[in-house]
Symmetry: D2
Subunit: 342 residues, 4 copies
């Protein structure tokens, strides 16, 4: 089959010919209909420090996708051939303390599709049956392919207590934009979106932001304080991973407020912890992945409710073969979500 992989420890993701995956116990084989590109894939493409530390070539990349089940291992009981599914990309061990206490998304032995095992930038991908989430036939595959990153936003937004408070979101990549949309229909009084890219800020406005700030042009901390009677935002979501944005996030939050950290910084982050966290009695929470499957139920219900319109989020549709073009687009920041068809 056709696949895109990191074949050597160097920049790039190249097309290869690979065997269709062979199933073992409790696995299903998925024919990929749509796979979308995540910031993580771009880290791997660039071959930055994070990628070097986590990827052992050869590895087929890609972890956001939707497709049809075309084969099931003999002991699979929860899905059957012909089912349309999206995938939870975190494969949990099922036996550790975290897995057995309802937190399998932070499993002590977590494996991630497209990072630790072969992924979805391919004609076929195999996954454990428990990682397949059924998709109703009326949901378009491209929408199904972005439920995984939408799940990140759902997990992040509902981890904070945003009802009746002012929310600021630093970073308007696809997850940040999804968070903007969710916050604006989930009781936030105002949603301020911050980025350095006007293209993304225009998307943020379309997704429901009540105000956007280009932090290259204006100081977001000063603006947020001005807009909140000098108090600061009740909840700040940091979804960029940029050190300066993280520092601003802590300066923008009000005393007793909450900072949700989702964006992954590439190195160490310096923080004025005394003034910006301790004296403020800030609540801080790291967010990774999705609660399995609490988040998926909410994602499902959101789709059914029609409350959130994800269509503006998908800005580019390409073929899987246009991998390099897709990566260039991400580098430019002039895109929302890019979906690929094998």
């Amino acid at each position: 089959m056709k696949a895109f992989a990191k074949v050597r420890p160097e920049p790039g993701i190249v097309q290869i010919k690979a065997d269709v995956p062979k199933l073992t116990s409790h696995e299903v084989l998925v024919k990929v209909k749509v796979t979308s590109v995540c910031g993580t894939d771009y880290h791997i493409y660039r071959w930055d420090d994070w990628a070097r530390a986590h990827i052992k070539p050869p590895r087929i990349i890609g972890h956001e996708f939707a497709g049809e089940i075309v084969e099931t291992a003999p002991d699979v009981t929860t899905h059957k051939c012909g089912d349309l599914v999206a995938a939870e990309s975190h494969i949990a061990c099922g036996r550790c303390y975290q897995c057995r206490t309802g937190n399998s998304h932070i499993c002590e032995k977590l494996a991630i599709i497209g990072v630790d095992v072969d992924g979805s930038f391919a004609d076929y991908v195999k996954i454990p049956e428990q990682n397949a989430w059924p998709i109703p036939s009326e949901v378009p595959p491209e929408t199904a392919s972005i439920l995984e990153p939408l799940g990140n936003a759902v997990h992040a937004i509902f981890a904070a207590d945003i009802g009746g408070t002012d929310v600021s979101i630093f970073g308007c990549g696809p997850v940040g934009l999804s968070a903007v949309a969710l916050a604006s229909v989930s009781g936030a009084l105002s949603v301020t979106a911050i980025d350095i890219n006007d293209y993304r800020l225009r998307l943020a406005s379309r997704m429901g932001a009540s105000k956007v700030i280009n932090s290259r042009q204006r100081d977001p901390v000063a603006e947020i304080h001005k807009d909140t009677d000098g108090r600061g935002a009740g909840v700040v979501l940091e979804m960029s991973g940029n050190e300066a944005a993280i520092q601003d996030a802590f300066r923008a939050v009000r005393n007793g407020g909450t900072v949700i950290l989702f964006g992954l910084p590439s190195g160490q982050v310096r923080l004025n912890m005394a003034d910006d966290l301790i004296f403020k009695e800030a609540h801080v929470r790291g967010i990774v992945g999705r609660e399995i499957f609490k988040t998926w139920y909410k994602v499902d219900a959101l789709l059914n409710s029609g409350k959130v319109d994800l269509r503006p989020l998908i800005t580019h549709r390409m073929s899987l073969g246009q991998m390099d073009d897709a990566m260039k687009l991400i580098a430019s920041g002039e895109c929302g979500k890019i979906v690929l068809t094998p």
Copy 2:
């Protein structure tokens, strides 16, 4: 001045002539512009068991109002004559355990305006300066007069974790209707409103309910389970005080879900506690009044955000002299909020 009072221990609220209240330490005198009618006032009018136990005639009734400060005690520092204010109706002692731990709305020595001290169905009412909440001049007084009951709904809705869940609201009086409006813009996936009165259910639809059920015609418990894959609602708000509705509320909630109890039953309530609360591991919380002043900040912010449109809620505007007509309307259930002008 003109006032409406319970003058004898019997049904009715009658017009009297009273002295303008004399201020003592830290009090302000408010010229009432608009005062609205609460279900509690109707309890007092009817002279039911609750009223008999709580009201010592003579007492001027009324506790939801907005007006202008026209006099201040010499030691008042936080307000001045000419200020437009709404009022927190709970007067807290300031010294008990609850007051000193951030819960003055459940003060151990709570006094309520229009119940324990003279109220706002009058030309003037005096209140402690700390109970006056400033209102911007652009807010219409009739809107300001219903911030107190809107605060009940804000307190109730944000006490539960409604983000991404299905919400059912039993009882569509003004607070229930406000809760419908709030829930629908605060992340609830669906908002089902239940009442026995079609007039109020039509209002519920206008306030944002995704579904309405007349419980005289259909079984709300069966409907709610049908609409949630047999699971039950994640959050149920009981805002009627009716015993059958309370029982339904517990039967309608899903395992592990939350029941918010706000409506006040007049007598003992029978509950199948084993099946409907314990085996379900339901979370239950009583809600009374408003968090002072956390709720008021949120009410303020909601008004500013324009997210909630309270206009459909006010269905009748009358003069204070039409007290009996107002009470008849409430008895009929064919009204939302009734506001009165002295």
Copy 3:
């Protein structure tokens, strides 16, 4: 094999001869070393309304036990023959909303050992491998047999926020007594135990209660208010299931406090909901079973820490054949935990 079962829909549990259970997928066979008697077993013995509604004879009774695995189904991977195990008595479906969101103890299709499937009052019992909890060899089997009810107490105690507050516990059966012991080493400022039986109150004192009240002799509500400056207890655990005790529990809790409901009332319970729950803004939570396996990890750790001494709890050791004597003892209330050896 020898077993004790409900064979007809009438009072009593009688000895029968039964086949050793045959294993199906993912099951293990446990040779019972010690099995202890739960209040539920006594309900079944008496054949009360609850039992009639839930037990379909013939059924082998018993669900608290420890034993050795003597056979495993071919697909079992997490345990092996020779392992000493205790058992989680709740068998979850693994597929419903509750199971997939970390709440399998309130599974929508829950089956309970000794109630819905054959139990442990027998030489052998079979259980799903996921319900077997490994026990270190140094733990005595009689201790292991009561980890399941200790787990109830752990779940109940840590569901409330008892740190730095006054705790009252109504009902001093084995779970109530375990809760007394746990609360007294877990930050409660005082632990008041209430029962109608002096034998059990003496046990409560030995388990760490700072005060005991025989509610036949003194009014627990008055005593608790007297001991808390008139405020009421911060946390009340109701572990008797008695209607009067439940009503007292709500009257004893302070404004804003928490009532944990664990004891199962046999019929409807009448509550003065307005005064005792809503005006108080009480937090109420039903507790059933144990969090799987969060509670078990805590039980394990408690045992290892040596903080809680369970020995006073086991007051009687009998053979399985003395079933009738054990039931008479429970009826008398003159016992703590009774453990039985096959």
Copy 4:
């Protein structure tokens, strides 16, 4: 009167002669019986960066004390001459968002005794009546003088959910030691204390630590993981303010665990946020001061319960005149709490 003050912007605290403070509205004058030395006082003595930024000489230092009220302003209603009191050192404005939502300890316009206004290293100190906390006559003044720092520990410990979990505490100054004592009687399964000073670690053992680690000799992160099956501590309290300790705190916490930050670092802190906070989904909370007055009620109750023995904490008793000796002792780390008598 005699007082010790920072008189010039340079190291040292020197004895001066000062006027007895004159009372204004709602203030009381306290004759100091015992005042104890805080790490903050040492910062001021050394004249480090923090002190330079916050202290405007001349300023009388000291904020932990107990004494007798000897004069009251005419409008004081809650205390009278002769009352023994301890003091909440945070003076809140009473009007800001934080003050009006139950969080006056993080008031937006906070003033601190001995930092922003004159303090207790003197014969007399004046405070607002609302900052005086009554002390029963049977409590020794030296105990009363350390309720303020004990309150820090109470606030920190009960901000985390330590029931049934493993707790690690970095930094064994007086607040860290108090936290050790509290955690060990509040449901923690184990309490590991970490410091670089053996004197303080011996105190930690006496206060109830189940294990102590000198981080100059052994790696605390490795030890904590070894002691928790490789999982990490459920709750970590950072009470040193040292950058390396803060980094260790984040490395020592388990996935999904909680880090409480109390110790104040003097400059920026570098953190490996991706691995040590985000991927772990750590919960982090800054803690400053005490909840006013929730914490004080708990402190009171703890004293009454006799659960915590504070006596080992007070290691040195000196006269106020021995200020320099006291500061040298603190610099050496060879002390617990030092109490001073004017």
